[in-house]
C-alpha cells in the first residue's frame, strides 16, 4: 500500500533532518510532514535505535511497519499536543520549518531554483543538486538533503498558486490529516496541532478513495462491485460537499480546534460569520465521513462492533461529549478499569490518568487515557452511554493488533431489545395505541378463504402445470404465451373473486399496460433506450420528467410488470443463456436484434391480431390493451 510506504518514507526522511521548533510558516504539505517528523523525533530522539526499528520494516513488512509507527505516534500524541500548545500561544499556528544542518530551507526559493534549472528531472539528470544546495546557502555536501526535501515537500506541489495538487504523496498525507483529525473528532484532545499554512485547497478526489477501496466499508451493495467488475466505482466517490460544508471548511475547523483541543465549539468562526454551531457540527460529521471513507476497512478493524457506528455516524456527535457535566461514578469506574486493562496489556498510559478530570473546561493540561489509548480532555466528558458501548465493543484487541477482521457485537441499551423476565405464564400486556389499549391482538384480516366459502375452496387443483399442448397456431410464441396468461388470469379471477383485487392482481403483469396510452409506452421505452447506463445515464432520472402524468408508483409498476417482462420475453428467445432481469442497467436487446422479428420494430407494438386480441377485447373491454405481438423467432 502506497500509504503505508509513505508513513515509513516520511519517517525515514525525517531522520535525516533536524527539527527546529520556531520559524516561518511554510507550505501546508511541509507542515503536515513536520507533524509526523515531530513525532518521529520524539520517538527517535531518546534512542536512535528505536527510530531504526521503526524505519526498517519499510522493506520487510510495510504494513506492520507503518502500523507500529502509527502506534508509536499515538503513544506520543499527548506530548505533542502540549508542545504545540505552547507553540501556538497566539492562536496562529507556526509550523517548524524544514532545516538542513540547522538552517531553515526556504522552500519558495528552492522551488523557484528548481524551476529555473528545468525541473526535477533535469536537475537530477545533470547532478545539479549540490550546486542548488550551494545557491541556497548550504554546503555542497548537502545536495542529497536538498533533493530529499524537494522530493518530499515540493514535488508535485504547484506552489505558486498555493494550491496543492493531489499526487500520491499528498494523498497519503491528506489521509493522515483525516486520520489525525478523526482521532480528535471522537472527543479526544489528540488534535492535529500543526496543520496550517496557506488556505490550501485539498483536492481529496475520488481516486483517493479508490486507493482505499479494497477496504470495504460495511455496505451490502458493495458486493455488487466485487461481483461485477465492470460496474462503475461511483459508489466510492467522496462527495466534495456535504450540506454547506466542504473539506476545506472541515480542515479550517480542525485547525481551530487543534489550538484549543477539548471543545469542538472553539472551532467556530468569528461572531456573525456563517461558521456557527451548525457549521461546527457539519464539520464534525464531514470529518467522520471523510474518515469513514478513507479508513473504511481500518475502521472496521480497529473499532470492532462500534466501527459501523462511528463510520456510519450512528451515534450523533453530541453523544460523544456531554460538556460541562461532571463524570459520574460509573464513567470513572469504567475509565479506571480500562486503565488497568491497558496497563496489563503493556500499554503506555499517561500518569495523568489517576487524577481524573476536575474542572469543567480547560484548554490544556490533564489528560487521561481511556482503554483505547486515546486521551480525553477534561472539558470533554464522554457520555456514559457512549463510553459503555465503546469500551465493550472496542475491545482492547484493537491495540493489541489481534485478529483484526473481527467485528464486535456492541452491548448496551442502544443495541439490545428489552426482554422481560419469563414469569411462567403468558404475558398478556398488550401495547397501547393512541392511548387506547388494544383488547385483542391483531391477527390479520382474512382474505382467503373468502367468508362463507370455506368448504368450496377445497378444489383439488393444486399444483397444476400448464396444459401440455395448446391449440395455438404458433405454440410457445410470445402471442401464445400471452394468450395463456390471460386465460389463466381470467380463471383465477373467477376462482378467487374479490381477493383478486385485494391482492392487487389487477395491477400485475401485462394488464398494467392497459392504463398506459401507446404514446406513453413509447415515451417510456424511448427514455430507457436513450439513457443507457453505458453513457453514464440513468433512465430513472429522466422518466418522471418525460412522463409527468405518471406517478413514480405507476412508473415502477409499468417497469416491473410490463417493460421488464416484455424485454425478458425477447431475451428468453434471443439470448437464453445470459439473462439477468435484476440488472436495471441491462441494455438488451439491441435494435439490431429487433430486426430479427420482421419489419415492425417491436417497441412500436400495436398490431393485435388473432385470438388474443379477440379474447382481450372480450374480457378487457375497457382501456386499450396494447398487445405487443412479437412473432415467434423462426
Amino acid at each position: 500500500m502506497p500509504k503505508d510506504m509513505l508513513i515509513a518514507k516520511i519517517a525515514q526522511c525525517n531522520v535525516t533532518h533536524h527539527v527546529m521548533q520556531k520559524g516561518e510558516p511554510c507550505s501546508h504539505e511541509a507542515a503536515v510532514s513536520n507533524h509526523f517528523k515531530d513525532k518521529s523525533c520524539l520517538i527517535a530522539c531518546p534512542d536512535g535505535q528505536e527510530m531504526q526499528a521503526i524505519t526498517t520494516p519499510t522493506t520487510a513488512d510495510n504494513y506492520s511497519g507503518a502500523e507500529r509507527l502509527e502506534t508509536h505516534l499515538k503513544g506520543d500524541w499527548n506530548l505533542n499536543c502540549r508542545g504545540h500548545g505552547e507553540l501556538c500561544s497566539d492562536g496562529e499556528l507556526r509550523p517548524a520549518p524544514i532545516c538542513i544542518e540547522g538552517k531553515a530551507v526556504n522552500l519558495d526559493r528552492l522551488c523557484s531554483e528548481i524551476a529555473t534549472c528545468g525541473g526535477y528531472e533535469q536537475v537530477t539528470n545533470l547532478s545539479m543538486w549540490s550546486s542548488i544546495s550551494e545557491r541556497l546557502g548550504f554546503g555542497e555536501s548537502c545536495g542529497g538533503s536538498v533533493k530529499v526535501v524537494y522530493t518530499k515537500y515540493l514535488k508535485g506541489v504547484n506552489y505558486g498558486k498555493g494550491i496543492l495538487k493531489s499526487d500520491l504523496l499528498h494523498k497519503g498525507v491528506d489521509c493522515h490529516i483525516a486520520k489525525a483529525v478523526g482521532d480528535s473528532s471522537v472527543g479526544m484532545v489528540t488534535a492535529n496541532c500543526d496543520i496550517t499554512g496557506s488556505s490550501s485547497t485539498i483536492s481529496l478526489d475520488s481516486s483517493v478513495c479508490h486507493e482505499d477501496s479494497n477496504f470495504e466499508t460495511p455496505s451490502k451493495r458493495r458486493r455488487l462491485s466485487y461481483l461485477n467488475s465492470s460496474s462503475s466505482h461511483s459508489d466510492y466517490d467522496l462527495p466534495t460537499t456535504f450540506g454547506n460544508n466542504d473539506i476545506a471548511d472541515m480542515i479550517k475547523w480542525l485547525r481551530r480546534v487543534a489550538v484549543c483541543p477539548g471543545d469542538p465549539r472553539k472551532g467556530r468562526g468569528p461572531r456573525g460569520s456563517r461558521q456557527n454551531e451548525a457549521w461546527v457540527e457539519e464539520s464534525e460529521i464531514m470529518l467522520i465521513k471523510v474518515r469513514c471513507i478513507l479508513w473504511g476497512r481500518k475502521e472496521l478493524i480497529y473499532y470492532g462492533g462500534l466501527t459501523s457506528n462511528m463510520a456510519k455516524q450512528r451515534i450523533p456527535p453530541s453523544l460523544y461529549y456531554k460538556d460541562t457535566r461532571k463524570p459520574n461514578a460509573n464513567t470513572l469506574e469504567k475509565l479506571r478499569a480500562n486503565h488497568t486493562r491497558a496497563i496489563k496489556c503493556g500499554l503506555h498510559v499517561p500518569d495523568a490518568m489517576d487524577t481524573g478530570p476536575e474542572g469543567a473546561h480547560g484548554t490544556s493540561g490533564k489528560v487521561y487515557a481511556s482503554g483505547i489509548g486515546q486521551s480525553v480532555g477534561p472539558g470533554l466528558q464522554l457520555s456514559a452511554e457512549y463510553l459503555k458501548s465503546m469500551n465493550e465493543a472496542l475491545s482492547i484487541g484493537y491495540l493489541l493488533n489481534s485478529n483484526t477482521t473481527r467485528k464486535r457485537i456492541p452491548i448496551g441499551v442502544h443495541f439490545q431489545a428489552l426482554v422481560p423476565e419469563w414469569t411462567g405464564k403468558p404475558n398478556e400486556v398488550l401495547v397501547s395505541s393512541c392511548g387506547e389499549h388494544i383488547r385483542k391482538p391483531f391477527t390479520g384480516i382474512r382474505v382467503w378463504p373468502l367468508l362463507g366459502n370455506v368448504s368450496a375452496c377445497e378444489i383439488s387443483r393444486v399444483g397444476k402445470g400448464p396444459p401440455s399442448q395448446c391449440e395455438c397456431a404458433e405454440p410457445m410464441s410470445i402471442e401464445c404465451v400471452k394468450l395463456h396468461i390471460v386465460e389463466k388470469r381470467e380463471r383465477l379471477k373467477k376462482e378467487i373473486g374479490i381477493a383478486f383485487y385485494s391482492w392487487g392482481f389487477h395491477d400485475m403483469g401485462e394488464s398494467v399496460s392497459r392504463h398506459w396510452k401507446e404514446m406513453e409506452q413509447h415515451v417510456f421505452n424511448m427514455t430507457v433506450r436513450l439513457n443507457p447506463s453505458s453513457l453514464g445515464k440513468n433512465f430513472w432520472d429522466e422518466l418522471p420528467a418525460a412522463l409527468p402524468v405518471k406517478t413514480m408508483k405507476e412508473l415502477v409498476s409499468y417497469y416491473f410488470n410490463v417493460f421488464v417482462v416484455r424485454r425478458r420475453a425477447i431475451e428468453n428467445r434471443v439470448m437464453p443463456d445470459s439473462i439477468d432481469s435484476d440488472d436495471d442497467e441491462r441494455e438488451v436487446p439491441t435494435s439490431e436484434s429487433y430486426n430479427l422479428f420482421g419489419d415492425d420494430a417491436p417497441l412500436d407494438y400495436g398490431k393485435s391480431t388473432g385470438r388474443l386480441s379477440q379474447l382481450v377485447s372480450h374480457h378487457e373491454s375497457t382501456g386499450t390493451l396494447s398487445t405487443n405481438v412479437v412473432h415467434q423467432i423462426p
Binding site: R221, I411, F415, A417, T443, V564
Partner: protein, 432 residues
C-alpha cells in the same frame, strides 16, 4: 390430502409496488411474483391467507428507539435533504435509501410478522408465513443492509409473551446480525445463523466465537461458512446443529428466516444451494413440530426468490409441486426453462473443506455443551434457573470478566487453524 398443520399466510398487495430506487438490488416486486406463483400453483386452497394490519409506530417501538421510528415516519424522499444529519445517524442513504411509502412498507412487513406471531400465540395456526418479513439486519436505533425495521425481533418479542424460549434460525447468506445483537444478552432467545463469513462480506459479524454474553452467553450460535457451499454439506450441518440445539434448548416456538440469497446464482450471495437444498432446511424445521413462524429475507435474483419461496410454501403445506411452472402473469420471468427447481449452480468454487466444516461443527457443539440442558418438558413453561456456577465463576468482577473473556478470545485466535490458510486442510485432503 390437506396437511395436519394449520397454515396462515400473510400477504399485502401494496408491498410489491415498493421500489428502493434505481439499481438497488432489493426489489420488493419479488413478493408480488412469489404470491402470483403461489396462486398459480393453487396453493391458496390449502391455507388461510391474511392481510396483515399495518403495525403502529408504538408497536415498532417495542424494539426500536422511539426517535428512530419517528424519523422513519416523517422522512420522505422530498424532505430528506433537510435531515442529512439524521440520515447519517440512522445509517440511511446508500444501502437503505429513503423511498416513497417507506414507512408504510415497514408497517406492512412488520405487521405481517407481528400478526403471524399473534396467531401462533393464540394457537390459531401451527405455521405462519410472511415472505415480506425477515429483514434481519435492522438495528435498534438504525437501519442496516436494506432493513429498516426488524420485524423478526418484533415477532420474537411477541412470541416471548407466550413462550419461555424462542429459537431463531437464519439461513440467509448474510449473518442475522440485527436479531443476534438484539438478543445477545438473553437466554430466552437462541439465535442460530448460517451465513457466509469472511472476505469482508456484509455485515462482517457472525464469527463462530461470537456466542452471546452475560445471561445470553452460549445462546447465540454462528455457523460461518465460506463461498460455494452446496446442498449436501449445508443440509448435514444444518440438521446436525439444529437437532442438537432443539434437543438442548427445547424452544416453545421457532422463527425461521428463509433468505433466498443463499441460493446459487444470487446477485449478492455466494453459496451454491439449490432450491431443493434450501427447502430441505424448511422441511426439516417443519418436521420438528414446533410452532413455526417463517419469514422471507434476502434474495436478489427475483425469479429464483419467487421459485424458492413457492417451493417452501409447498413444503410447509406438504404439497409436492410439479416442476413445470404453470402460466401466470410473470411466466416470462421463469422462461426459457420454465422449471420450478433450479439446479445447484457450479459457478462458485466450494471453499468449504471437510476439515473446515468439521472444525466449525466441533466448535459449535463445544459451545452447545456449555449450554445447560433446558428444563425438562414437564417444566416447559417454568422459568428456568439459568445460573451456571462453573461457567460464571470468573464473572464476579464484570470488568475483569470482560477482560479475561477477551483475552481468552485473543489467545484462542492466534492458533486457530481454520482461520488461517488451511494448511491443515491441504494436508488432509492430499492424504485422504
Amino acid at each position: 390430502m390437506t396437511s395436519k398443520e394449520r397454515i396462515s399466510y400473510f400477504y399485502d398487495g401494496d408491498v410489491g409496488s415498493v421500489y428502493y430506487g434505481p439499481n438497488h438490488p432489493m426489489k420488493p416486486h419479488r413478493l408480488c411474483m412469489t404470491h402470483n406463483l403461489v396462486l398459480a400453483y393453487g396453493l391458496h386452497n390449502k391455507m388461510e391467507i391474511y392481510r396483515p394490519h399495518k403495525a403502529y409506530p408504538v408497536e415498532l417501538a417495542q424494539f426500536h428507539s422511539a426517535d428512530y421510528i419517528d424519523f422513519l415516519h416523517k422522512i420522505t424522499p422530498d424532505t430528506q435533504e433537510l435531515f442529512s444529519k439524521e440520515l447519517l445517524k440512522y445509517n440511511m442513504g446508500e444501502d437503505c435509501p429513503v423511498f416513497d411509502n417507506l414507512f408504510e412498507f415497514c408497517q406492512i412487513y412488520a405487521g405481517g410478522t407481528i400478526d403471524a406471531a399473534h396467531r401462533l400465540n393464540s394457537q390459531l395456526c401451527d405455521i405462519a408465513i410472511n415472505w415480506a418479513g425477515g429483514l434481519h439486519h435492522a438495528r435498534k436505533c438504525a437501519a442496516s443492509g436494506f432493513c429498516y425495521v426488524n420485524d423478526l425481533v418484533l415477532g420474537i418479542l411477541e412470541l416471548l409473551k407466550y413462550h419461555a424460549r424462542v429459537l431463531y434460525i437464519d439461513i440467509d447468506v448474510h449473518h442475522g446480525d440485527g436479531v443476534e445483537e438484539a438478543f445477545y444478552q438473553t437466554d430466552r432467545v437462541m439465535t442460530v445463523s448460517f451465513h457466509k463469513f469472511g472476505d469482508l462480506f456484509f455485515p462482517g459479524t457472525g464469527d463462530v466465537k461470537d456466542i452471546g454474553s452475560n445471561e445470553g452467553k452460549y445462546y447465540a450460535i454462528n455457523v460461518p461458512l465460506k463461498d460455494g457451499i452446496e446442498d449436501a454439506s449445508f443440509n448435514s450441518m444444518f440438521k446436525l446443529i439444529i437437532s442438537k440445539v432443539v434437543e438442548f434448548y427445547q424452544p416453545g416456538a421457532i422463527v425461521l428466516q428463509c433468505g433466498a440469497d443463499s441460493l446459487a446464482g444470487d446477485r449478492l450471495g455466494c453459496f451454491n444451494l439449490s432450491i431443493e437444498g434450501h427447502a430441505e432446511c424448511v422441511r426439516f424445521v417443519k418436521s420438528l413440530k414446533i410452532p413455526l413462524l417463517v419469514t422471507g429475507g434476502g434474495g436478489y435474483t427475483k425469479e429464483n426468490v419467487a421459485r424458492c419461496w413457492t417451493v417452501e410454501t409447498g413444503v410447509l403445506l406438504d404439497t409436492e409441486l410439479p416442476d413445470e411452472i404453470p402460466d401466470n402473469d410473470y411466466i416470462d420471468y421463469f422462461k426459457p426453462d420454465c422449471k420450478l427447481k433450479t439446479q445447484s449452480g457450479n459457478n462458485m468454487e466450494n471453499l468449504n473443506s471437510k476439515t473446515y466444516l468439521s472444525a466449525i461443527k466441533m466448535q459449535v457443539f463445544e459451545n452447545l455443551r456449555n449450554l445447560q440442558h433446558a428444563p425438562s418438558v414437564q417444566m416447559h413453561e417454568v422459568p428456568p434457573d439459568w445460573y451456571i456456577p462453573d461457567i460464571n465463576e470468573d464473572e464476579l468482577d464484570p470488568e475483569e470478566h470482560i477482560h479475561q473473556h477477551m483475552q481468552d478470545k485473543l489467545v484462542q485466535r492466534d492458533d486457530e487453524f481454520y482461520a488461517g490458510d488451511y494448511d491443515n486442510d491441504h494436508d488432509m485432503e492430499e492424504t485422504s
